[in-house]
Amino acid sequence: MLPEEFADLEPFAGKWSLATERERYSTRMATPIQEMRAFYDAVTPRAEAAMAYIERFPFDELPEDALHLLHLLYSMIEVSFPIEVWHQPRVPDSGATSFDSFTEPRP
């Protein structure tokens, strides 16, 4: 799914290269913290390189594999809260509340 240069992140692509916020958020809720930690530790050092790679293409005509890489970065942002802030998947004191995305820019 990912460009050749990012084969090291390929193991995460299947699970985390997701096009919509809803998919990213529900995956976060369903994933144990250690697994998110592994993804976070693998992708953050590569984020700068990934952005530089994606920048080579016009933003509104990204090739398929660059688009998957971009979605992987979105998931990196999503898991940054459980890893850096909450140390658990859910937002503390958010109980059963949800806040569902119904529109977002593409890509």
Binding site: E21, T44, A47, E48, M51, I54, E55, F59, L70, L73, Y74, M76, I77, E78, S80, F81, E84, V85, W86, V91, P92, D93, S94, G95, A96, T97, S98, F99, D100, S101, F102, T103, E104, P105, P107
Partner: protein, 418 residues
């Protein structure tokens, strides 16, 4: 030791002529009061239902469910480019005219005309009845008399407002008043990259608006959001807004910005450094050109944001960093409402801008989730009635104003109070 100068009266609360005694929230736990609000406020005030960008071309439409006034509205751009609004009811047998999968769900799209799913009556985009199936079978039905029932609809700065009153007591501009219309030239139309979120909150709509009308809670409720160093400092300093303003039923709080990205990295989250985005928005500020005088009327320097709270249920929050949010609180009962948060940026032209926007939108959602749940806990306890009077401080002046204006409208059902 207030950090910012108080008005001459010594406090913002007294400056706006508001009472300083403890308040009651009886207006937020009573089904009867909610029914009176529906009549005296939501059936009379101008309600924002969307933006013109949602109707990009002739034939574009969207529907809006307005449970609080017992109707569904369809908003459409006609062949003449005009934007109109109609009650979403077919004139033949009262079926809901515009919906697709589920009648109670909002929908949007594009069409040349509206066709009722029940008996195929057809209406033009101007609401006129253009076709009746087997017209001859009817008894002198004059199509001109059976067009869609119009809803008053006016646009301001690209925001589409509707008013379900037979005759609105004020034009939209008069209703908005000078403090709000002074924002007219803000480049809302350039900021079309939109992240929209929606949820049902089990709390009265006013109580959730209260939560967004004061930043006194920020250092505490959201303290875990920022690294301990930053939140400890914020908690100690407490929260003070440099400027409050009131104009008719609407109100504003402006905050002093913290150029936090110039702070040492340890008080920032790693992901904020990496994406150059976060709660305060993208670090790289888009060039929006000359901003209208209505923005930052308190001339705060540094300036963080303006939170314009339009009566009854609409907030426009403009960040100095060049992005803005809107909140809507759509009541569905005395202790439930639909909360909608929209985040708007100038469209990202490259991946770094898009990543900074994603981080800012994700951060907004994390904060909002904490507020929603805490408010449900508050609603529960206010309904218990064991404690009835609650103190408000000078940083909570806008709460007093909201509840007072609601009371004024509810107690003055006839004319709109000055």
């Amino acid at each position: 030791m207030a950090r910012y100068p108080k008005p001459p009266e010594g406090s913002w609360t007294e400056h706006f002529g508001l009472d300083t005694a403890p308040v009651s929230y009886a207006d937020s736990v009573s089904p009867e009061y909610y029914e009176r609000e529906r009549q005296a406020i939501f059936r009379r005030a101008w309600l924002n239902v969307g933006r013109v960008e949602q109707l990009p071309r002739k034939g574009s439409y969207f529907t809006k469910e307005l449970a609080v006034v017992n109707t569904s509205v369809v908003v459409v751009r006609g062949m003449d480019g005009e934007i109109r609004a109609f009650h979403n009811v077919c004139r033949h047998r009262g079926n809901k005219l515009v919906w697709n999968e589920a009648p109670e769900e909002e929908t949007q799209g594009f069409c040349r005309q509206f066709t009722c799913k029940y008996h195929a009556w057809r209406y033009g985009l101007d609401g006129s009845l253009t076709f009746i199936q087997q017209e001859g079978e009817f008894f002198d039905v004059d199509k001109d008399q059976f067009g869609l029932v119009a809803v008053h609809c006016e646009i301001w700065a690209g925001f589409i407002f509707v008013n379900v009153a037979r005759e609105p007591e004020q034009s939209l501009r008069d209703f908005l008043g000078p403090m709000i219309t002074a924002l007219e030239c803000y480049p809302f139309d350039q900021m079309t990259s939109r992240f929209g979120y929606r949820t049902e909150v089990k709390a009265n709509w006013k109580l959730f608006m209260d939560a967004f009308a004061e930043f006194y809670h920020a250092p505490v409720l959201h303290s875990k959001q920022s690294p301990d160093k930053y939140s400890a400092a914020a908690r100690e300093a407490g929260y003070e807004a440099p400027h409050y303003q009131v104009d008719g039923p609407h109100r504003l709080v402006s905050t002093s910005g913290v150029r936090f990205w110039e702070m040492d990295p340890s008080s920032l989250k790693p992901m904020e450094n990496l994406t150059r985005g976060g709660l305060f928005g993208p670090w790289d500020k888009p060039d929006l050109g000359e901003l209208p005088a209505g923005v930052n009327p308190g001339k705060c320097n540094p300036w963080g944001l303006d939170s314009f709270q339009l009566f009854p249920n609409f907030v426009i929050l403009i960040w100095g960093q060049g992005w803005y949010l809107t909140y809507h609180y759509w009541p569905t009962s005395y202790n439930t409402h639909i909360f909608e948060g929209n985040v708007y940026f100038t469209p990202a032209t490259n991946v770094r801008e898009r990543i900074a926007q994603e981080m800012s939108a994700v951060t907004f959602k994390e904060f909002a989730l904490q507020d929603a749940n805490t408010l449900e806990a508050t609603q529960l306890m206010l309904e218990s009635g064991y404690v009835e009077r609650f103190p408000l401080n000078d940083q909570e002046v806008l709460l007093r104003h909201l509840h007072k204006v609601v009371a004024d409208w509810v107690n003055e059902p006839a004319g709109v109070p000055a």
